[in-house]
């Protein structure tokens, strides 16, 4: 079997790529996808430690994270649609005001 280290370092790399995506991209949709990437990297750590300690709780937390991520995506994309209606753009550099 592959050592636990490898999975954790892979997860760290994917998480950092997500951080770079949030910092770099100006399209709000891609920023949002990078957030999903980071959630996924965190899930990978949870699954890895669940396999390492042979407890099922880690896998169930991933299950709950998935549910919350689905809810978050629904609300987040609804917000993006609302912002697009107001500003005709999904560029994060344009979203500098809190009101309308």
């Amino acid at each position: 079997m592959v050592p636990v280290d490898y999975y954790l370092i892979l997860s760290a790399i994917i998480f950092s790529l997500g951080v770079i995506g949030v910092l770099l991209r100006s399209n709000a949709l891609v920023v949002f996808m990078s957030l999903e990437l980071m959630l996924n990297a965190a899930n990978l750590v949870l699954i890895t430690y669940a396999a390492y300690y042979r407890v099922l709780s880690g896998q169930l937390i991933v299950f709950f994270v998935m549910i919350v991520a689905a809810a978050e995506v629904a609300v987040g994309l609804a917000l993006l649609v609302a912002i697009f209606r107001a500003k005709k753009s999904v560029d994060v550099d344009q979203m500098s005001s809190l009101k309308g």
Partner: protein, 189 residues
């Protein structure tokens, strides 16, 4: 190292390579639709990695929920907003370098923090038979985690209502008194 012990490393290496490459491709592709499709590839690959870690149920729900439902929602919104027609904003060179340096520092910090705190945990992850099966997971979920499971229904309900309220076209509804306003084709104009 015999051939049998090399196989898991080979499988992991290929999967890790595909996962990282698809994440990088998601970051650098100009088109939001391409980004979404690379993210689907990444999610599917991570799902297969879950399979190698003895989590078949989570692996399949990863593919069904993430690569299926969430990314379909993403693609739907990208196409609704006409995201494929946006001209891509090219980030400034200083911006790229700054983000790259910050990301690299963050990665270094994560790996260092791990190795300082835990040393190298090279003990292989061995799987007990039946570990991570849907039966075992269901027993745990509905006995130990029954209350959180019920609470997730509340989260999903609030997300449902929130999404409907946020995307409702309030001005049109007040003026014409319609209860259901069709989604406008925004990108036609």
């Amino acid at each position: 190292m015999t051939f049998e012990t090399t196989i898991p490393y080979l499988v992991f290496g290929v999967l890790a390579l595909v996962a990282v490459a698809s994440a990088v491709a998601m970051l650098i592709s100009k088109d939001a639709v391409n980004s979404a499709l690379f993210l689907v590839l990444n999610f599917a690959t991570v799902g297969v990695i879950y399979l190698t870690l003895g989590a078949p149920f989570i692996a399949l729900s990863q593919i069904a929920v993430y690569a299926g439902a969430i990314m379909v929602l993403f693609l739907f919104v990208i196409m609704l907003l006409g995201g494929e027609k946006f001209k891509p904003a090219i980030p400034r060179r200083s911006h790229i370098i700054f983000a790259g340096v910050l990301g690299a520092v963050f990665l270094l910090e994560l790996i260092l923090a791990y190795f300082v705190r835990y040393g190298n945990m090279t003990v292989p992850a061995v799987q007990a038979p039946g570990y991570g099966s849907p039966t075992a997971l269901g027993m745990e979920l509905f006995s130990k985690y029954a209350l959180p499971f019920e609470l997730t229904s509340l989260i999903l309900l609030s997300a449902l209502i929130g999404a409907i309220i946020l995307t409702r076209d309030s001005k049109k509804e007040i003026s014409s008194g319609e209860t259901e306003s069709p989604v406008e084709d925004e990108n036609a104009s």
